[in-house]
Symmetry: C2
Subunit: 255 residues, 2 copies
DNA sequence: AAGTGGTCTAGACCACTAG
DNA sequence: TAGTGGTCTAGACCACTTC
């Protein structure tokens, strides 16, 4: 069959852009809409090819990009699955504090406060909501190697997290992004971070056991899901006396 | 022709791993060895397919990964080129300081000192050289919007940069990584960064016009080329009063 | 018109997982 | 043994660049 003679396909694939992009968009929509939930398998490549009326190679190209993006996960012989945020996957995808020697460390989290309020101007701008919209504010203290090292101030749009209580929040046995996903169907796709150096003061200094004037690394992170929707604002203050923020650029594997 | 009946191919492709990985390794080797220089075109996909004795689709898969890695660059209708570090490509790939409002800014660079010396223990460890090996130390002051904001202390293994003088270094009209590439054939593939918060003191404070005790963001970066070879150690100290370090994780494009 | 990369097809066989 | 993803082929046509 020549490449141009496409057979009839149930879902309308609007022309103008490559088929694999159409397929990719449909798959992404399916995940975002919860048609396939985190950890579940999507249909086999052969089924998808039949469903969309395209060759299996086109399906593979679409799935490839979603695997690269982190939305899907392939397991040879088993199937293709929606990525689940358990198993510490995003733990280290989005947590970049390591020991000064580069050793990874799992933080121990304690929730210091959990309150409801209304968005101020900065929060509203970061979360793409209107001012005075309801938000949830959480303060966590993270310890590494038994010492308090990080203070996290988290702001969530309350509308996205109905029924979230301190009890539910602290009872989670996994990362916060896993909670987002398992309870609210929110997949964090990417984060945007801005880092500054500041000086310790007030309650933050006290929580970290530091004198006023000690240097702190401040990380202002916005977590983003499908359709560029911000779902979380998190301001972290890190004592970098014995831990550092670690980061690599470029996907170059050795030859 | 069935998939298993491969025709004779001049370069021996060792079995055991996928053909496209073999091809990828050969292409990477060619770039690393300078067979095709930065900005030059590699052979066409059809030529490569004939040369390696594989299908064009296999070549495409190998090239795809090198394009994703940033080593190669495709231009439809023209060819596939070795990425050149001019045109500010790596400028913003590896320079992450932006205005507090997120606006990109081009730094103005002034070289404050250029000296030769011998590696101390920390430099030797970071650059994978032996202690007391010859190094070049450069101190740059970077200004954004007319104000000194960053002090860079750069350490280079002298063996990798023969004949590098302050005159050559400061005469460059482009980024330092472009100089690495154009004069020494060194392609920076990736960087490893560790960030801490520190306090301003001594000459750094003076260069930035800050009082002692002001908070500074310290970035310790190692630049890495093929075969995981470190080629540069750079310690940057950034005044984040009106600029921030910006960073995103996750390649998620909107649906 | 010729040459390049970009998309897509149809089908083969291999490697892994499960019943 | 059946079903899944992983690799690879051979060839078609399209879109872009250059002459």
């Amino acid at each position: 069959m020549p490449a141009t003679a496409r057979s009839a396909r149930p879902p309308v694939l609007t022309p103008g852009r490559p088929l694999y992009e159409e397929v990719r968009a449909h798959l992404t929509e399916g995940v975002a809409a919860g048609r396939w939930k985190a950890g579940e398998a999507i249909p086999s490549e052969a089924d998808l090819a039949a469903h969309f009326g395209v060759a299996i190679g086109t399906i593979r190209k679409a799935v490839d990009s979603l695997v690269a993006q982190g939305t899907l996960l392939r397991r040879q012989g088993k199937g293709t699955f929606v990525t689940a945020h358990d198993g510490r996957r995003l733990m280290f995808h989005f947590f970049h504090i390591v020991g000064a020697d580069g050793a990874k460390a799992y933080p121990e989290v304690r929730t210091a406060s959990f309150e409801r309020g209304r968005a101020d101007a900065a929060e509203a701008a970061a979360l793409a909501i209107v001012r005075d919209e309801r938000v949830i504010r959480i303060r966590n203290v993270l310890s590494l190697d038994g010492r308090a090292v990080i203070v996290d101030d988290i702001t969530l749009p309350a509308a996205l997290f109905p029924g979230l209580t301190e009890r539910i929040f602290t009872a989670r046995d996994n990362t916060i992004y896993h909670l987002f996903q398992s309870r609210y169907g929110i997949n964090v796709l990417r984060t945007d971070e801005r880092l500054r150096a500041t000086l310790a003061s007030g309650p933050t200094a006290a929580l970290l056991g530091l004198p006023a004037g000690a240097p702190l690394l401040e990380i202002r992170r916005v977590a983003i899901t499908f359709r560029d929707r911000p779902v979380e604002l998190r301001v972290s203050r890190v004592n970098t006396a014995s831990h550092v923020y670690h980061n690599t650029f470029g996907k170059g594997e050795a030859i």
